[in-house]
Amino acid sequence: MTSKKQGSVPLGKDEITPKHIYNSRRKFLKQMGIVGLGAALAGCVPATSPTSGPTQTEPSSVATLSGLTDELGNPLTDYSAITGYCNFYEFTTNKENVDDLAEDFVPDPWSVEVGGLVNKPQTFSLAEILEKFDQQERVYRMRCVEGWSMVIPWNGFPLRQLLEEVEPTPEAKYVAFQTALLPEVMNGVNSGMFPFPYLEGLRLDEAMNDLTLLATGLYNEPLPPQNGAPIRLVVPWKYGFKSIKSIVKISLVTDQPVTMWNTIAPQEYGFYANVNPDVDHPRWSQGTEIRIGENQRRDTLYMNGYADEVDYLYDGMDLTVYY
C-alpha cells in the first residue's frame, strides 16, 4: 500500500530548500528522533480506510518501526496501546472503549477551514493537505495531564508550513483550533457532561515552532478514528489535551483563544499547559508519570524533555502563573 523507501533517504521535495538550512534541519530532525525512512504518505493514503473490527490488528508497517526509540532512547509504545487507550470524550470517557465507539466515524470527505487574520484564507481537503505538505515521521513523547504517557511515532508535517501557506497578518497573535462535532456518530456528545465542540489554541510563536505537528498518521498508517482522524495537532511539550483531534477549523486571532478544559476548570487547566514537574495540578502531583507498557513510575521531565527546543518561548514568564 505505502511505497516506502528503505535506508536513510532525505525527506523528499527538499530541492527548493537552501542546502545549509536543509542540512541543519535534517540534523535537528535526526536529533529529535525522526527516522528518515522517507515513507511519503502523500498520495498513498486510500480515500476511505475505516478501521475494521473493534481492536486494531497491528498493521504490517508496525514491524518496520519496532525497536525504534525516541531521541532519549525510550522504546515506542505498542500500536495496540496507542490505538486502544484514548481520551476522546466526544465518544466516551472510558479510554478503552473509544476504539469500539469510534468505529462508525468515517472522516471522509474532510475539510479544514483555515482563516481569520490571514492574507490567503483557504479550505483544504485532506487530499490537498497530503498532496501539498510532505508527511514526515516524528517520534514524540506524549504526556497526559492525568499522569500517564506514551512514545508515539507520528506521521505529519509542521503546522508552520500550513500557516506560511495562508500568510498570517501582523495582527495575528494566536492560533485557534476546533474539533468536529458529530452527534450522530459521537455518542458522548449528548451526555451534556462537556461543553463541546472541543476547542484549543496556541500562541503564534508556539504554533510556528518546528516541533508543532499536524499529524495525519501514526506508525505509518492513517490515523485511526479514535486517535483523532484524519488530522490532529501534536504539541509534545504540552499536556495531551492541547493536542486537539479531528480538526475542522484553524483560525488566526488576536486574543488568547477559549479552550474547552480551561472553560471547564480554569484553575486546573491553563492555556499554556506546559509539562512541568514543578507545577502541580491542584488536586494531584505532576512530578511523576506512568509510561504505558512499563511497571514503574518515572520522573516527569520539564517540558516533557523538549526544553532545549521550546524554552525560549517562555523566557521571563512565571510558569506557576502561566500554567
Binding site: 486502544g84 476548570a265 502531583s285 511523576t288 506512568i290
Partner: protein, 211 residues
Amino acid sequence: MNQHIEDRKQESQRFQLKVLVNIAGALPLLLLIGSYVRGELGFNPVEAALQKTGQIAVIFLVLSLAVTPLRKLLHFPVMGFLRKPLGLYAAFYAVTHFLIFAWWDYGLDFQLIWGEIAARPFIIVGLVALLILLALSATSLRAVQRKMGKAWIKLHRLTYLAGILVITHFLLAVKGNLLTLQGDYALPLILGGVVLMLLALRLPFLKRIFQ
C-alpha cells in the same frame, strides 16, 4: 414448639446469608486477580485495579449502611448481622485500594507517597476514611464489643462519617469541575445520593415513619 421451629428457620437463613455475603466479598478480588493474570486489566492495569478496588470498597460500605433501613423495610430482622461482614469487606477492599496506590503504583517510596498525601486533599480525605474503617475493623471482635459497651456504639457511628469521606474522596478524584458537574460524576453522585438518603433515614422523625 413454634418458637423452636422459628429459631431453626432463622438459623438456616442466617447461615445462607453468611455464605452469600462471603462469596460476594471474595468474588471481586478473585475476578480482579484473574483479570490481571490474563492481562485483561487494559493498558493501564494499575489505574484499572485502583479504580475497581475503590469502587468495590465504597459499594460494600454503602451496602453495610443500607442494612438497617432495609431490614426494617423488608421485615427481615435476620439480615441485621450482615453489617459486620459487609463493613469488614469494605475495609478489606479499602486497604487493598490503598496498597495498590502505595505499593504497586508508588513502590513504597515513602518520600514520594508522603509528598502526594501531604499536598493532596483528596488523598488525605481517603486516608482518614481508611483509618476509620481500620479502627472499626479492629474493634469488630465480639469480645472487644462487650468490653467497650456504650462507647462501641458511638465509635461505630463513625461508619457514616467514613461513608461521607469516601464519597468526597471519589468526587475530588474525578477530572472536571465539581461545582458545575462537568465531568464523569455519575457514579460518585449516585452513591453520594444513596449515602445521604441512608443518613437521613437515621434522623429521628424519619426513623419513626419507617417504624
